[in-house]
Symmetry: none
Subunit: 219 residues, 4 copies
DNA sequence: GATGAATGAGCCTTCATTCAT
DNA sequence: GATGAATGAAGGCTCATTCAT
């Protein structure tokens, strides 16, 4: 019992600014979705995990429906700012930028078991909820467009054949498939193995610039 | 009632109507999961879609829990018999068998929007339901083992470098990623485009045997 | 405890035709409104009073909202059929018909403490609920029109002066006021005293045809 | 703070702001009851309408229960002082005093849509709340006793027949019925029409002293 | 005094399950 | 087998009340 990874309740002050409470509750929501599944996620469980009363959830978010939507928005924003930041720290060449994007997709802050489980839950529910659909990962148009432009540069600047759009999609689905794999596999799946698999796919498409270890001649 | 010709009854196996009802309800369950999402799937909706009465669902399946599990088992069995049959019709060489497996994964009977949605729902729920976990797609050990052996043959017989295990995984996650893509994308996603993307990945890993159109020199 | 006028639960069979259950629940609703007030009427209390489970209320009526609306519709229909029937048994002359209408308004089946309390609750709520408003007693247009036509006949055929519309309204508000009085007064208020008050008002307006005891020269 | 001129403070009675706040909240309560109905009246809505914070309501009144009771007391006191004042301005004769009382009952300050709606809500709730019951309009014993004495004077001094008690009640219920009518009717109901209806009733009972326009030979 | 976050009791509603017919 | 009324547990939501600031 005492070894359970429950959040430390005594740390949180009784009153907290609005945004901090919201983030706290969203993190609890992600944790509960991961542990009990989307279908059995209840406000009571979310509140218990956050160490707060259930009434407070409806005070800060207007409804369960809205709490879940805001959780998805939080994840989507987090995902986007993660690869945006990674790109800013990357060199200007297409291989460098592709390398940065792939690494960002498996960054420890983003690619946790809880977050993957929550993403998968939202992917699943999005089929019947248009409002989820446009926020779901694979619909991050900016990411997709960027990835496709980079693949086009790989073709133009480095002589790779084949449709850049299809190559881009092949790499993107590999990333998504790995995410799914990380969740679904019964045996643990370390982040470096996930990244290596993604780089294997990159190396298959761009053999002169990538190896299974990542970007060739990286300094 | 008692005036009905008795012999006519015994000709019809008693178990058939029962199994037909079960399949009917399972198909309705898949449809409801796809349309309303796993979390909002109710027995009432399943019964209505099947055109049956409310109480009958619990008569054929003991509980909702069990209905959903049997639906997953049905999908898993269907998936397995699909690729098994495909394999039987394929030639003996490794490229031919890989080609057959990939095509099987996008067969129109298997790869419908409803089934993809149901699969995704089960992947998502499996995180918190061990009983689902071992039946989920990515855990079809026979499939995975076979695919890995075929990649090992590609390395041994055709001189492809790299870890066969990792190549196999890279191809498998590409397939899963495409499935996810087919569900999640807002724009419709034809089966042939999905297959072409899978073949693009295969061509990247095995360029001398595959093109974006599939197996090279196919006869 | 055993002297409480609780409905006999053992009498009601476990299953009952749809309409009988609905009436049973509507009667329970009227009783609960009268005893606890509209604002504190709960489905649980209604169900307990009917000796049924609370889930059944939402099974037969879709919501509490709808249960209350149907209760009002039931009362309105009951009121209307009461005065309609009274009219059919009355003679053709205007005084006879007015006498019949006034007596109908204080008929023991209609004018019970529970029903008066429920009516008052609906009158009160109708201010903020348009859907109630058009069903409320004072808006029984057929009754009002009829009453006004009868007063017009009293003027035309019997020489009473004054605006028939205003006389009709004066008599109608007297009836409504008596109903309110019957509810509000702390001391019990027998039906015959109520009727005598209504007849006093009728006698004031039509002194040659009515006395405090009712229609003059009644046969 | 401490630099403020102390004498100025003592000039303003400390109790005034408190009482002003109370009246402000009571008026807001009346408005909310009229607009949303008694059953859906919440402290939050009352506070919003008063332009005050949520928690303040419980500071000035101890509870919602008490706020509502004080609202009723406020209405009852207002009603009583209204007719008391009207009586002081009236002549000594019975007809003059009856005329004054009836006019007071439809005075614009008393007889507003909001106040009528609140009164009706309290009448309705009073059935199940003894504490409301004794404060409700029809139970204003002083008013009722006075009215009955005036009707007795009409009989004794002006020769009107019939039971004064019943005549008094007939007039009183007419007033209450008109109030109800003003609330319930879908079409607007001007105050002068209401008063004319009341005077019609008075004229029916006291034809030599009242007409539909009010007291005869009024100077 | 004033504010508004926090709490928790109570209620409506949904829905899986049971069961009489 | 089949039906659908009946049950009751569970959970979302509202809102009166409390309380730290």
């Amino acid at each position: 019992m005492s070894s359970l990874p429950e959040p430390a309740r005594s740390e949180t002050p009784r009153k907290l600014p609005r945004d901090e409470r919201r983030v706290q509750l969203i993190e609890a929501t992600i944790a509960v979705i991961a542990r009990t599944g989307y279908a059995r996620t209840t406000l009571g469980e979310v509140a218990r995990r956050a160490g707060l009363s259930h009434g407070l959830v409806n005070f800060h978010f207007r409804s369960k429906e809205n709490l879940l939507l805001e959780t998805l928005l939080h994840l989507a924003e987090e995902y986007r700012s993660n690869w945006t930041a990674a790109l800013e720290g990357a060199g200007p060449s297409a291989p460098e930028r592709i390398d940065a994007l792939l690494r960002a997709d498996f960054a420890p802050a983003i690619c946790t078991p809880d977050r993957l489980a929550a993403w998968c839950a939202f992917w699943s529910e999005a089929q019947s909820r248009p409002i989820y659909q446009e926020r779901c990962g694979a619909n991050d148009d900016a990411y997709n467009d960027l990835f496709e432009r980079l693949c086009a540069r790989m073709a133009a600047e480095h002589g790779y054949a084949g449709s850049p759009a299809r190559t881009a999609r092949a790499l993107r689905v590999a990333v998504e498939g790995i995410w799914l794999d990380m969740m679904t596999m019964r045996t643990p799946y370390p982040l470096d193995e996930a990244l290596a698999t993604a780089m294997t796919a990159a190396a298959a498409h761009f053999p002169r610039h990538f190896t299974e270890a990542g970007l060739r001649d990286r300094r």
